[in-house]
């Protein structure tokens, strides 16, 4: 199945450096693996758990052979018991450890919602700050090759609604490493949602450990005509669309939110204050998803800047179909962004 062997031979868009051929490039999975390796090295409290973290697949390579280096006490396979294991991770965190619990797909988190939402995300508040829960949950969105309804859900729209839970969706190799290291260092529960398509990329990744701040977005491309807000692999898609528009003399500003909660409201509002036009792109469902919140934020706090309706580009509001002809209709990409942008800008 092609989706099990994503080749990371495409360079991500060149956001960081103009034309340096000598930069250190890692694949997306190597970037995360390096973060894990360094976290395990630097902090004895860190450990990795998850179904298959010590197997040859190693979560898309992100945990490859770390059990050999750090031992099977610190990098271990788990039973398929997502609810209890999330609670066990939570308990371990309360007891002073820093678990990182890997899941292949967010779909399986539905089994863990009670421990994640009712417990981990509330513990600090519920006890008036007496106990905090430094856990990281990681899951990678499936897509394509008939992954279908139960293996391809992009659930950031749900998790963005949960107080007490930080929510991260990186789009570059640099951030995948830096945000993972920040998440592990954070004293709160953090959920990282990755996207399989990001794993095609190679990108600039410094070797030394570094942290990318949680809660801060970044502008991937400056622009004055329209603002694109996106996350994860939709940033790449938005960037592609923006480059396309550039050719026509239209400058879209592309914001990579990186964190959905806490949300970087300022970066969005500042951009919209300049462009007056907003398009939000997500790889999850539209209704009640992250595009809704970002739109509502601007309709509430940036209304005066708006020159046109806010458009949302997101997946169809149906369970993911398996057939490829239907997948084509279900998923959105740079073309949809382009079309919606043209509508907002009223070109053609």
């Amino acid at each position: 199945m092609p989706w099990t062997k994503i080749k990371s031979d495409v360079n991500e868009p060149n956001y960081y450096l103009e034309s340096d051929e000598n930069i250190r490039r890692l694949s997306y999975s190597e970037a995360i693996r390096e973060a894990m390796d360094q976290a395990l090295e630097l902090d004895q409290r860190v450990f990795i758990m998850g179904q298959g973290v010590d197997d040859p697949g190693a979560m898309f390579g992100t945990t490859l052979n770390l059990h050999k280096k750090y031992g099977s006490q610190r990098v271990f396979d788990t039973p398929l018991a997502e609810n209890a294991l999330t609670g066990i991770a939570t308990g371990a965190a309360i007891g002073g450890m820093r678990p990182v619990y890997f899941h292949n797909r967010p779909d399986f988190l539905f089994l863990a919602m009670d421990q994640l939402v009712n417990h981990a995300s509330k513990w600090y508040y519920m006890f008036g700050g007496a106990v905090n829960v430094p856990i990281v949950l990681w899951a990678c969105i499936g897509r394509g090759w008939g992954s279908a309804a139960q293996h391809s859900q992009a659930l950031q729209g749900l998790f963005m609604h949960i107080p007490g839970l930080k929510l991260i969706m990186p789009s570059t190799c640099y951030d995948a490493k830096g945000l993972m290291l920040s998440a592990i260092a954070d004293n709160n529960p953090v959920l990282i949602i990755e996207h399989r398509l990001n794993f095609r990329h190679k990108g600039f990744v410094p070797e030394t450990p570094y942290r990318v701040p949680i809660g801060k977005g970044i502008i991937r491309k400056q622009g004055k005509d329209i603002t694109f807000v996106a996350i994860s692999h939709m940033v790449t898609e938005a960037y592609k669309a923006a480059e396309e528009l550039s050719k026509e003399g239209i400058e879209a500003e592309v914001i990579d939110l990186r964190t959905l909660r806490p949300l970087d409201e300022e970066i969005i509002l500042r951009s919209v204050s300049k462009t007056g036009r907003l398009l939000i792109a997500d790889c999850g469902w539209k209704t009640g998803g992250i595009t809704a919140e970002i739109s509502a934020l601007v309709a509430e706090k940036g209304f005066e800047f708006l020159k046109a309706p806010i458009r949302r580009v997101a997946c169809q509001d149906v369970p993911t179909p398996s057939g490829y002809t239907l997948e084509e209709a279900f998923y959105v990409g740079s073309n949809d962004i382009l079309n919606a942008a043209r509508e907002i800008l009223q070109i053609r």
């Binding site: 697949g57 139960q150 398996s322 490829y324 002809t325």
Partner: protein, 328 residues
């Protein structure tokens, strides 16, 4: 296997063999074409586990229910699911059993009591239990069989479902296909020992472990369980010990991954339930080589036809992507 086959009707023995052979051949054929990337769906082959699907389903009637998983080709076919529609589903066609919406992990054929399989590990267990509840409430004469493997046995849903099935004396049979692996993870890395449900009091839920590679052993164990269910005496639990000889997903062996030894795979391949049964049947004169040859050819023909049907079937139209969201 030293069992005496004499007591069984010839027709039954032939059917058992035929069904296993057919499931085996269908999967080998899928496997052989998978590299063409035309079946754009994940596949999870149950090669080496044919005896379980067949041994269980041979005891079932058309209107009995089964609940299955991501590794469900065998269950679907053993229960009488339409082969053409299975292959069409793998080819993502509108003529597939799930109209190209489900793919290989989500098979359905309500006409034979296959009400849909879940690819959430353990997800089908409560649903199969609920089918038993419906049966009981409607005072129907049906049995609900739940197929699940060792990964699913890790999940609390199993404990909860078994408790409920015993509490309500539901006509449910828990068929634990212990093939020893969940992806690359051996059951011993996830479970503390023998599954505890073997310790359930016999009158609440009889439980036994059988050789999952012996179709007759599976058949016999299921027979008792089905009888118990039809007598409204409650659920049963059957562990079928077996082995997943292929890789977790996709085509071919995963020997090279190194998480298990090549010898171990070989050992279990040697226990192939289809071949093992054919040897007994030949030995005991139930079938002869020619008869088997004819079976093979019949099946090959059927398979070819099914693949042709699938490949020629129309694809779902993109504009129908929102169809089937809600039922009127």
């Amino acid at each position: 296997m030293t069992m005496n086959l004499k007591k069984y009707p010839h027709k039954l023995l032939v059917k058992l063999y035929f069904d296993m052979l057919r499931i085996n051949k269908v999967q080998l054929h899928i496997e052989s074409l998978y590299h063409l990337d035309e079946m754009k769906t994940p596949i999870h082959l149950s090669i080496g586990q044919e005896a379980i699907a067949v041994g269980v389903c041979a005891n079932l009637r058309q209107n009995d229910y089964i609940s299955s998983s991501h590794r469900g080709h065998g269950h679907y076919l053993a229960k009488g699911g339409d082969l053409k529609r299975l292959i069409a589903e793998l080819y993502c066609r509108e003529t597939g059993c799930s109209k190209g919406r489900g793919g290989s992990m989500h098979l359905v054929d309500t006409s034979v009591g296959h009400m849909g399989s879940s690819s959430i590990v353990g997800g089908g267990i409560p649903i199969g239990t609920g089918l038993g509840l419906a049966t009981q409430m409607k005072a129907e004469d049906r049995v609900s069989v739940i197929f699940f493997s060792d990964g699913a046995a890790d999940e609390g849903a199993l404990y909860e479902s078994i408790n409920f099935a015993i509490l309500k004396k539901l006509p449910v049979i828990f068929v634990y296909e212990n093939n020893q692996f969940a992806v690359c993870s051996h059951v011993s890395a996830r479970q503390a020992g023998e599954i505890i449900f073997h310790k359930t009091p016999h009158d609440a839920m009889p439980s036994q472990a059988v050789n999952g590679n012996s179709v007759m052993d599976v058949y016999e164990a299921t027979k008792q369980a089905v009888m118990r269910a039809r007598q409204k005496s409650g659920p049963s639990f059957i562990e079928c010990k077996t082995y997943r000889v292929r890789g977790h997903a996709g085509a071919g062996s995963d020997e090279k991954l190194g998480y298990r030894t090549a010898e171990e795979i070989r050992e279990w391949e040697a226990k192939c339930p289809v071949r093992a049964f054919s040897e007994i049947l030949l030995r005991d004169g139930v079938l002869n080589e020619t008869e088997i040859q004819i079976m093979e050819e019949t099946i090959d023909c059927e398979i070819d036809e099914a693949f042709r049907f699938a490949q020629r079937s129309p694809l779902p139209k993109p504009e129908d992507v929102t169809k089937y969201l809600f039922c009127d």
